[in-house]
């Protein structure tokens, strides 16, 4: 009921002049290519970046173009390699370090939290750590408990780190360029299911400033804030809701830290309802923070409290079997039902959105 092409439009609007339709993964590759050509201090490394698959294609051809000093693979040593990235950044380089799963970042938390996040402050501005950590998250296809986590809230928690999770090709490229140019460590979250989605991307160089949320669709009845791949699910939900005359305003925060609460609150003030869909667990998550901030702002400004709700991963480890996995994640239909209930009241159980046509999840044959 909601094709990929439609989704793209929903993301990127109608084609503007000076843009072309490219995939998220290619948008990323362009960002690396342009920035590495622009600044000789930029380099890219990590497991598998120089093999023939090139991180789902996002790094293909870069070693040929920029050489083995600037694009190279490493041993399986996440902890030390993160330290290496930090050291090179302190020395004035601009490393991009890649993890093919966010779960593996649990091995380098010490370097990221104790060194990368703190060096600029602790050494009183004497050093900077202009580091980009690319980290892939995924869903589905039986990846299981250790290959499915989205841990952005752990990084949002720590002062000194920035966190970005673009949900379309345009923002993927623009935010990557901004992240590379940023003088702080930036955790850059890429969702595998988004890699093959297409979007209109400018032919001219551009950066998407970090810290700005994006309003994807306007609507007056409810504000749905969704993270990463959940943006696509929220857009599906929006379609479902439209069919019964409910207009949802879908917002993609794009940057998770610093968080653009202004854009979110402007919308919430209009709709009176905020439904936050995280692509992660709820407890102490981005959802807790966004709802708390919304509530705090309403109190500060003495405006009446909107209806507030959230959805995210089930509070369990992610199971591999498809029937349970499907229950683990919010999707367009469960989001639509939740929004419907926020508007019509919890008892309003009469409505069920139709089962969606095939989505990128069904099309996905595994990242394997």
């Amino acid at each position: 009921m909601f094709t990929q092409a439609e989704e793209i439009k929903a993301h990127a609007g109608p084609q503007k002049t000076g843009t072309r339709l490219i995939r998220y993964v290619d948008a990323l590759r362009e960002a690396f290519e342009e920035e590495m050509a622009r600044d000789p201090k930029v380099f890219l490394f990590g497991l598998d970046v120089d093999d023939h698959k090139g991180i789902q294609g996002s790094t293909v051809g870069l070693q040929e173009k920029f050489g083995k000093d600037r694009v190279f693979c490493t041993p399986l040593s996440e902890d030390a390699m993160t330290g290496v990235a930090i050291g090179a950044a302190i020395a004035g380089y601009r490393p991009i370090h890649v993890h093919i799963r966010m779960d593996f970042m649990l091995l380098c938390m010490n370097q990221l939290v104790n060194m990368a996040a703190k060096s600029h402050y602790m050494y009183n501005g004497q050093v900077k750590v202009p580091l980009v950590v690319r980290t892939m998250i995924g869903r589905s296809w039986g990846q299981g408990g250790q290959h499915s986590q989205a841990l952005h809230s752990m990084f949002m928690h720590v002062p000194g780190l920035k966190v970005v999770a673009p949900a379309n090709a345009h923002d993927a490229k623009g935010c990557m360029i901004a992240a590379i140019r940023d003088n702080n460590p930036v955790i850059f979250i890429e969702h595998r299911l988004l890699y093959s989605t297409e979007g209109y991307v400018p032919t001219q160089p551009y950066a998407v400033p970090l810290g700005k949320a994006r309003i994807l669709t306007e609507g007056s009845d409810i504000t749905i804030v969704a993270v990463s791949h959940m943006v696509m699910e929220a857009l599906r939900a929006k379609k479902h809701l439209e069919a019964i005359d409910i207009q949802a305003e879908v917002i993609d925060p794009v940057t998770l830290w610093p968080l653009d609460m202004d854009t979110i609150m402007a919308s919430v003030k209009k709709t009176g309802r905020l439904l936050m869909i995280d692509n992660a667990w709820l407890t102490c998550g981005a959802s807790s923070e966004i709802l708390t901030r919304a509530m705090e702002i309403c109190q500060e400004e003495a405006i009446s409290m909107p209806a507030l709700a959230r959805m995210g991963f089930a509070p369990t480890t992610c199971p591999t079997t498809r029937p349970l996995e499907n229950l683990f994640y919010p999707d367009g239909r469960t989001i639509a039902v939740k929004a419907y209930q926020m508007i019509k009241g919890k008892q309003a159980k009469g409505w069920e959105p139709p089962v969606s046509a095939k989505t990128e999840i069904d099309a996905f044959k595994g990242p394997f």
């Binding site: 093999d51 040593s77 299981g144 349970l324």
Partner: protein, 321 residues
């Protein structure tokens, strides 16, 4: 001449591993198995040579590439296949998939998908067994397998140092297929002197460079005897091997040209399964082959016919009571 009973037993297990994995590869495109599979085709002699001399209550810890060791250690086959199918009868109720096979009853510790992660966990298991033996007088042994890539993680060294310091009853095995996904050893190891490095921790090491299943088994038999009698702490064994198929998934990916086809040919010529087949009476061999085929058909049917877990299973076992 090697004991025919042993040859037959080794052959049967290795063939079962090979055929079952090839069958998995065959049906993979149907999406009956919606879970990444890391096959051990070509590497079977390590799993079988290592596990054959183990007792049922010895423990094996392994990686996401765990089918071979799970089978060789005596893991329940029905539970394994059902797990791959995501069925409620799976060894983990469908929650774990191919990368996390587990069968505590038969001494399979529970595999992990994060490289290196089970090495310290196995070391802790060995610590427990060392203590247990002081009560029971009987020394169970842990075997911790990892890939060549696994040895690059810091926790590998930390574990070896601790195991050596406390003389733990553990055998570390490195299955060295010289690849981590597509990246060759040369891009990851400063040198090839892993065994030399391990001996600086004061432990016995063995390097087996031809995947000879008898050599592996004999090395294990001696190692186990020493550990059980308390005359040795940890022992380290490096076994060369070759992965015939792609890193993850059902295909032969030699067309991707990231590795040498001659080397592949050498390893195929050295295939331990063919070698054992040649050592057996035709009669015995065909018996075994029939049995293996039958077993695979049975477990496949079982997996197919088993039900998926009910929705409420999503919330079971989050916390232990």
């Amino acid at each position: 001449m090697t004991d025919q009973i042993v040859v037959a037993r080794l052959y049967k297990t290795m063939l079962l591993i090979r055929q079952l994995e090839l069958r998995i590869a065959e049906i993979y495109h149907t999406d009956a198995i919606k879970s990444p599979v890391h096959l051990s085709v070509g590497q079977e002699s390590i799993a079988v040579g290592v596990c054959d001399p183990l007792e049922k209550d010895d423990i094996v810890s392994n990686t996401y590439r765990c089918h071979a060791t799970y089978i060789a250690k005596g893991g329940d086959l029905f539970g394994m296949m059902a797990e791959l199918y995501g069925k409620s009868t799976g060894c983990a109720g469908g929650k774990a998939g191919s990368m996390h096979l587990v069968d505590i009853k038969n001494g399979v510790m529970g595999a992990s998908a994060v490289v290196g992660t089970t090495i310290p966990v196995a070391t802790g298991y060995a610590l427990a067994m060392q203590n247990e033996a002081k009560m029971t007088g009987r020394q169970r042994v842990v075997v911790a397998l990892c890939g060549d890539g696994g040895t690059e993680e810091g926790c590998f060294y930390e574990s070896i140092n601790f195991a050596a310091l406390r003389k733990l009853p553990i055998i570390f095995i490195c299955e060295n297929n010289r690849l981590a996904i597509h990246t060759p050893l040369e891009k990851r190891w400063a040198t090839n002197q892993l065994c030399e490095r391990m001996s600086t921790f004061g432990i016995q090491t063995h390097k087996i460079d031809d995947a000879d299943v008898f050599k592996i088994r004999d090395t294990m038999i001696n190692a186990l005897a020493e550990i059980r009698h308390g005359t040795s702490g940890p022992i380290f064994i490096e076994c060369a091997t070759y992965r015939w198929l792609e890193h993850v998934g059902p295909l032969d990916d030699h067309y991707d040209d990231y590795r040498d086809k001659n080397t592949y040919q050498l390893w195929q010529d050295n295939d331990q399964i063919s070698r054992l087949a040649r050592m057996l009476d035709d009669q015995v061999r065909m018996e075994i082959e029939k049995e293996v085929t039958l077993t695979i058909a049975q477990i496949e049917k079982y997996a197919e016919e088993s039900p998926y877990p009910a929705a409420e299973e999503l919330y079971t076992h989050v916390y232990a009571s």
